[in-house]
């Protein structure tokens, strides 16, 4: 690798090393989890650190394309690109991974021997997610997508013997691979249409569009459509969202946090990379369609969340709605990426925090979290009650909470792009959002009936929830530092 420095792929390498180390030590140390637990934590933080280094390198202008072994002159398409997008994705994935690990610690503790496998899988999953964002090559994005998805299929079904866990795993697997196959077919068709697999580099899609205007864009459009299908499925935007509620409910609560957050971060980063980075000349084709999908997601997400009785399903449907709001940011094109990043990173922390609380209250491997079990939570443990309330307020888009800043900036960007009707649908669905979020909150503070089982969250779970709640409030009241960072997190 003469001309490729180690930094651009540092994230994946650290994660892989960490995972293998965890497995190795897990085998040797066996039962004592204490031994390899810190390794996983260090790995996540190290990769986040690598992200920071990448960020600094990019901001010093030494970002750019990195090729593998061959000599420069005949190198055509780069495999790795280190730009604001991938660096920021690394930081966020690293931190969210770390917090999710803390959050899922109760689950890991309860898995006994298999816990090292669980942690290794999470490490590799995060690596796969980052791979989706760091490469301009569409096939490699597919590979990253598959890496992450496969590990999440396993995580979903990790609780052996539980009917719901298996059901969610199989559903996630079948539908996931179907969507990935569609995505891949999209890549193939795009390859046919543009003669290139990579967005940047010599024979790249960008160069292709700078020199030629396709007279018969049929196949290109079919390719784009199919790639959209794959990514819409991943970020669970309606009407491709139907897997989300069943999988979130079936999967063990501890693991779902990372699954929900990671997939959204990587999904939207890939969307930004491919469609805003690559197919920028087809903007006036895909933007209106993304706007329509955004609207459908908002409406479907909020209305169905309204009728849910299980908190995990409610969070799943609200995830669909949040994808709608994020897509509204995408509608703004390059200008929409900073709000999208702000929104998705704060949402990631919130969703991890929320699912950690669910795992604390309803048991780490629980596959059902009826909202009634949260009634009177403030009485049973005021701390958990207030933290869940804060996260609920954050998610509902109340001002001075992170959700609000992200959402309103998304609306502003969508408004600028001329999609005011989408903004109106967005604000009205937010109101429906208030309804179901506040129903949870009113449950928390209502004088619940006799259910006074004591809740004692483990130190790490409590730490994870506090971090996410603090992030929700902090970035709500003082959003500027994150906003300045996010402004540079753009693809080349």
């Amino acid at each position: 690798m003469q001309n490729a420095s180690f930094l651009p792929v540092a994230f994946e390498v650290i994660q892989l090393a960490g995972a293998l180390l965890v497995l190795l030590v897990g085998v040797i140390a066996g039962k004592q989890r204490r031994v390899w637990a810190p390794i996983a934590g260090v790995t996540f933080l190290a990769s986040a650190g690598a992200g920071v280094l990448q960020w600094r390198a990019v901001s010093e202008g030494s970002g750019g394309f990195f090729f593998s072994t061959q000599e420069l002159e005949i190198m055509r398409s780069p495999m790795v690109v280190m730009d604001g997008l991938s660096a920021f994705a690394a930081i966020v994935l690293g931190l969210v991974g770390f917090v999710a690990l803390l959050g899922s610690w109760d689950l890991v503790a309860s898995l006994g021997k298999r816990s090292s496998e669980f942690v290794a899988l999470t490490l590799l999953a995060v690596a796969g997610l980052h791979m989706m964002t760091v490469t301009p090559n569409l096939v490699v994005i597919f590979i990253g997508l598959e890496t992450a998805s496969i590990s999440f299929y396993v995580l979903a079904g990790f609780i052996r013997g539980s009917r719901k866990s298996d059901e969610s795993a199989l559903k996630y697997f079948l539908l996931g691979s179907l969507a990935s196959a569609m995505f891949l077919y999209g890549v193939a068709l795009t390859f046919a249409a543009t003669g290139s697999l990579s967005i940047y580099g010599v024979n790249s899609i960008r160069d292709f569009f700078s020199i030629t205007i396709i007279t018969e864009p049929g196949i290109l459009l079919a390719g784009l459509a199919l790639m959209f299908v794959g990514l819409f499925f991943k970020i669970s935007a309606a009407p491709f969202h139907q897997w989300a509620p069943d999988v979130y409910q079936g999967a063990p609560s501890g693991a779902v946090g990372l699954m929900a957050a990671g997939v959204k971060i990587a999904g939207f980063a890939a969307l930004a990379r491919i469609f805003i980075g690559g197919f920028v000349s087809q903007t006036d084709v895909w933007v209106p369609i993304v706007a329509v999908v955004a609207a459908i997601s908002m409406i479907v997400g909020t209305t169905m969340a309204l009728v849910q009785t299980d908190l995990k399903r409610l969070l799943a449907y609200s995830g669909v709605a949040h994808s709608g709001y994020l897509l509204a940011a995408m509608v703004g094109g390059i200008r929409g990426i900073p709000p999208m990043w702000f929104y998705v990173s704060t949402y990631a922390f919130m969703i991890v925090g929320a699912f950690t609380i669910v795992s604390v209250v309803c048991g780490p491997a629980s596959t059902a979290a009826p909202i009634d079990s949260f009634k009177g939570l403030a009485k049973r443990s005021p701390e958990m009650g207030w933290l869940l309330a804060i996260i609920m307020f954050g998610m509902s888009g109340m001002p001075f909470f992170a959700g609000f800043v992200g959402k309103v900036f998304a609306f502003v960007v969508a408004g600028e792009a001329g999609y005011m009707w989408l903004v109106v649908i967005g604000t009205l669905t937010t109101v429906v959002g208030f309804a179901f979020y506040l129903r949870v909150v009113s449950g928390i503070f209502s004088s619940g009936d006799d259910d006074d089982r004591e809740i004692d969250p483990s130190l790490s779970a409590r730490f994870a929830i506090v971090i996410s709640a603090v992030a929700t409030v902090l970035f709500g009241i003082v959003p500027w530092p994150l906003l300045d960072v996010v402004r540079e997190a753009l693809p080349f």
Binding site: S77, V139, F142, I143, E146, I150, Y153, V154, G157, R160, G161, S162, R163, K164, D166, E167, S168, A169, L170, K171, F173, L174, S177, L178, A181, L184, Y185, V187, A188, L189, F191, A192, G195, S196, L197, N203, P245, D246, Q249, G250, V307, Q308, R313
Partner: protein, 101 residues
């Protein structure tokens, strides 16, 4: 008439569609999974056809990598199906409907 790349691509599309049909029709998880493998094969065919037509080797490299990914997918898929089979003693997908609404 001479053999053009369009034929291959059309065959690919046909196989892909049959794969999709397979996923929808069959109730046995295994056969559904096989249909998905068929779809991936169709895509590989498309990749190779286009790479031949444009003379770009990347297509074939992509095909190879796709096969590797498909292999990994198969192992995991079968593992899940076996796990499901163990708890429900049947791989019938329609019984997997406990979570809905």
């Amino acid at each position: 008439m001479s053999l053009t790349v369009t034929w291959f691509l059309l065959l690919g599309a046909a196989l892909f569609s049959i794969g999709v049909a397979g996923v929808l029709i069959r109730r046995n998880a295994l056969v559904m999974f096989m249909s998905i493998e068929l779809m991936l094969n169709a895509v590989t065919l498309t990749f190779v056809a286009v790479s031949k037509d444009l003379g770009l080797i990347e297509g074939q490299v992509a095909a190879v990598f796709v096969m590797v990914v498909a292999a990994a997918e198969v192992t995991i898929g079968l593992a899940i199906i076996v796990a499901v089979f163990r708890t429900r003693s049947s791989a019938n997908v329609d019984e997997l409907a406990e979570m809905k609404g």
